[in-house]
């Protein structure tokens, strides 16, 4: 299953990567991930005033001898990260050639494999109007097989409701971490509300915005009845040059609004088109964006 889901060659290359978490997270388990949380590793970071209750073994007696002042040494703590892979499997994702959902699942599998290879805690879930079946947590590479099997079974269903689905997810998971959301954002429901639920709970959010080339640059024309694959709604349009120009303007306004929101809330945002090769997305696009290193 795993061999057919992602190429073995690609998996071997992915083992050399690691996910980058830019936010401080509080984890109980020491992992291989370097965290900005001060802890008990050997890497000294800073001092702070001693307060009653602190571990007296962490007092710096040399400082006390010279300054007659009690300070505690702070060390950088090495921890692993919980990676939440959230894949939008609404019907609008099941569209385009190559298929948007298919690419989202492959990306989720690839990034999940990176996490497992680095002993990160990997959880995965699909969502549309509600939260779907979840996977994990898994902690080591041996469980990648199960992750790929889970992803292979994912089917498109329902309309997207970001708020309901993501709120439900954070309620079920008390361990925040790096949440990577794969979606096309083509929904009347507000994605902002859903993403804010993650942020409020301390998740570091990366938004992978997946679009088909035909959504970016429509090549259809004539008197058409456009039927929404997800909702069944339709729009009558006469697609002449003027209408296409209007669409482009609206598309640009929409993407700029998304970028603006993500920028304001510290969300890593990457828009990709399904026409781009998977390995290029993993090893170049997301690497440049700082999601993997």
């Amino acid at each position: 299953m795993a061999a057919s889901f992602l190429e073995p060659v690609l998996l071997r290359r992915l083992e050399r990567l690691g996910l980058v978490s830019r936010k401080r997270v509080a984890n109980q388990i020491k992992g291989e991930r370097r965290s900005v949380q001060r802890g008990s590793s050997m890497n000294f970071v800073d001092y702070r005033e001693y307060v009653p209750g602190d571990d007296v073994s962490q007092l710096d007696w040399n400082v006390y001898g010279r300054l007659d002042h009690l300070v505690v040494k702070l060390f950088e703590d090495e921890q692993n990260v919980t990676v939440h892979l959230l894949v939008d499997n609404s019907k609008s994702m099941d569209w385009g050639d190559p298929n948007k959902l298919q690419l989202a699942l492959q990306l989720a599998g690839g990034l999940g494999y990176v996490g497992l290879s680095n002993f990160d805690r990997v959880q995965c879930a699909t969502f549309s109007d509600t939260l779907g079946v979840t996977f994990g947590p898994a902690r080591n590479q041996r469980e990648a097989h199960n992750l790929f099997a889970y992803l292979t079974e994912v089917k498109p269903a329902g309309e997207t409701n970001f708020e309901a689905a993501l709120r439900s997810y954070v309620m079920q998971n008390r361990r925040p971490g790096l949440a990577i959301v794969f979606t096309d954002l083509l929904s009347h429901s507000s994605f902002e509300t859903g993403v804010k639920c993650l942020l409020e709970r301390g998740y570091e959010v990366a938004l992978i915005h997946i679009l088909a080339p035909a959504e970016v640059r429509p090549s259809i024309g004539g008197d058409l009845k456009l039927v929404d694959r997800e909702t069944g709604r339709y729009v009558d349009v006469t697609l002449n040059q003027r209408a296409l120009n209007l669409y482009r303007e609206r598309y640009q306004g929409w993407t700029q609004a998304i970028e603006g929101f993500c920028g304001r809330h510290g969300i890593l945002y990457q828009r990709i088109e399904t026409s781009e090769p998977l390995d290029k997305l993993l090893f170049q696009t997301l690497r440049k964006r700082g999601l993997v290193a």
């Binding site: 569209w95 083509l186 709604r233 729009v235 209007l246």
Partner: protein
């Protein structure tokens, strides 16, 4: 407006269907997209879920409704009713004579006549044919058996002339054109200022008269002539006659211009339907051209001026080559304005013939003919003159042309002859007198030389003793003299003018009164010049290799009382009967369908709609 096929109006029922098409939404092809999220609210046209839409103001819809309405109208075949000619063929005699220039009807009588003709043509049935004859000094068939459109086109281009009217000839022509045709009518559109045509029988032909004109008030110069002053032949007296064709007595000022300068004026009182005459006696010697001019303009200005070219003949040299002919010498010496030189035939070879303009060869003919006109008496045979040395005894004058200017006042029949040489008349010569088929007198133009031939010796006859002999010689010299202005007769406007080229002339230019000119290559033959519609002075220049040989003038005047009498006539006297206006015109109501015009409008509308649709999209 009525309809031939009212059932065609049923086509209008398609108009509501057309509107329904506009109310219905466009049928669209379904296209599945991932989401309509971005497509919504793009354009107000893009979102409408009802099968019907509100009818919006659309130029295309209005154009299409109008198009349908026009097609409906066209299918119903609309027509209007108008009086039309019952005839299948009409002949329009359109008077284009000078009197039609009168402006008593604005803008002119001719324009009024043209409009009347247009109205007539407009009333013709669609399948009728017509003929238009422009009537002036000679009738001119402009178009024959033409359709209505061709008739209209011809009427647009016809123009008035300054000539006289020959309505009789035009009517004869129209009658011959109509001969054998049934349902045919002749329309005379004229001011009626034509001579009576009592002797013209129209038979069964249907002739109608459409009179044009309102007033006959006009004064015109009808005579302008000159005669030598009895006391001083070098001076000329100018005689002018002015006629008043109106009913009341008028005063007018008559002026005489000599070579373009005012010389004299006189007040004339001219009684109604009367005339006044005046003689100007103080014309200076050497004057070339005089112009008589009436001061007061009237409704017909063409006859208010007249021009006269005075005799321009100067003294010329005549060479008499004879062996003592007393009769001839005496007669020649009596001629005025002639310098006579005499020589004997044997001495002729030593003479320069270019010094002389006229030659008289008596019993002699040089090998090389000189350039000039000549009288040949008893000539010997030559290549160009088939004359025998044999003689015909005792010929009698059996006939001669009394009306020819050469024989004016000459009793040629009184002549007795003992014998005469037999001449085979050349092609260029005209036999003016003969004796049973044997010419006694010939004249003509032989390759640019005017010649008069007497094929007998004067001593063989009593001609030299007759009183008519000096007159004959005078007539001959008037004919042979060079630079004779009478060579260019002053005809009426539109007439042809015969211009005699000089033997040396290689180019002749005629300059019209308006300054335009036309050049001819004479090739030794007389030139017929017929562009004489304008009144005034015409200048004729004869040149040889760029050098002017001779300047002549002739005048074209409208001195025609018939044309100057512009009083419109209410009736036309024809074949002893008086033709009244519009008498018995057979009008009949006729349908004039105009669906082709409606169809044309529909096509134009369709073209505009196509343009508008593509411009919008």
């Amino acid at each position: 407006m009525n309809l031939v096929a009212p059932a065609g109006l049923a086509f209008a029922s398609l108009i509501p269907i057309l509107i329904i098409f506009y109310l219905l939404k466009v049928r669209r092809h379904e296209q599945e997209v991932s989401s309509t999220y971005l497509w919504e609210q793009l354009h107000r046209d893009l979102v409408a879920h009802e099968p019907w839409q509100r009818l919006r103001t659309s130029l295309l819809l209005l154009l299409q409704i109008l198009l349908m309405a026009l097609l409906t109208l066209g299918l119903a075949r609309p027509f209007f009713t108008a009086n039309a000619q019952a005839s299948d063929n009409v002949v329009l005699l359109l008077d284009a004579s000078a009197s039609m220039q009168a402006t008593d009807v604005k803008p002119s009588r001719f324009e009024a006549a043209r409009n009347a003709a247009r109205e007539l043509v407009g009333r013709l049935s669609d399948d009728a044919t017509g003929t238009i004859v422009r009537v002036k000094d000679h009738p001119e068939v402009l178009v024959q058996g033409a359709t209505k459109n061709q008739l209209f086109d011809t009427l647009n281009h016809v123009s008035v002339s300054t000539g006289t009217t020959n309505m009789k000839e035009a009517l004869q022509l129209a009658l011959s054109l109509n001969k054998g045709k049934t349902r045919s009518q002749i329309f005379v559109i004229s001011d009626g200022a034509v001579p009576p045509m009592d002797d013209l029988q129209v038979g069964d032909a249907e002739v109608h008269f459409l009179p044009i004109g309102a007033s006959g008030e006009n004064q015109g110069i009808t005579v302008l002539s000159s005669r030598p002053d009895p006391g001083d032949p070098q001076r000329q007296h100018i005689f002018v006659r002015v006629e008043n064709f109106g009913q009341s007595s008028v005063f007018n000022l008559l002026s005489l211009y000599v070579d373009g300068k005012l010389m004299d004026s006189t007040d004339l009182q001219i009684p109604g339907r009367g005339k006044a005459e005046h003689v100007f006696t103080n014309v200076p010697p050497g004057a070339k051209v005089v112009e008589a001019r009436l001061r007061d303009a009237d409704q017909f200005p063409a006859d208010n001026s007249a021009w006269l070219v005075l005799n321009q003949v100067g003294a010329y040299k005549l060479l008499l080559v004879t062996q003592n002919n007393l009769f001839l010498e005496k007669a020649v010496n009596l001629l005025p304005n002639v310098e006579v030189f005499k020589t004997e035939p044997r001495r002729y070879v030593g003479i320069d013939p270019s010094q002389y303009s006229v030659f008289v060869f008596d019993g002699y003919l040089p090998q090389d003919l000189p350039n000039g006109n000549m009288l040949l008496i008893n000539p010997p045979p030559a290549e160009w003159l088939p004359i025998t040395t044999d003689t015909i005894p005792r010929p009698k004058v059996t006939s001669y042309d009394r009306d020819d200017p050469l024989l004016n006042y000459v009793q040629f029949s009184d002549m007795q002859l003992s014998k005469v040489k037999d001449v085979d008349p050349p092609e260029w010569a005209k036999v003016l007198a003969q004796s049973g088929g044997h010419p006694l007198l010939l004249a003509g133009n032989n390759a640019g030389r005017k010649m008069v031939i007497l094929p007998f010796d004067l001593h063989w006859s009593n001609f030299g003793l007759l009183p008519g002999f000096p007159i004959f010689i005078s007539n001959v010299m008037n004919y042979l003299q060079p630079n004779d202005p009478s060579e260019i007769k002053a005809p009426s406007p539109g007439d042809s003018v015969l211009i005699q080229p000089l033997p040396q002339s290689d180019e002749i230019t005629v300059r019209k009164p308006d300054g335009s000119s036309r050049t001819f290559k004479p090739a030794g033959k007389p030139i017929g010049y017929n562009d004489t519609d304008a009144t005034g002075l015409y200048q004729v220049s004869q040149r040889s290799q760029g050098k002017t040989l001779q300047e002549q003038m002739f005048a074209i005047n409208l001195t025609s009382p018939a044309e100057s009498d512009i009083a419109p006539h209410a009736t036309l006297e024809l074949g002893g009967a008086k033709l009244r206006p519009n008498e018995a015109i057979d009008w009949t109501p006729a349908k004039h369908e105009f669906w082709p015009w409606v169809l044309l409008a529909a096509v134009c509308l369709l073209t505009f709609e196509w343009y508008w649709y593509h411009r919008r999209s």
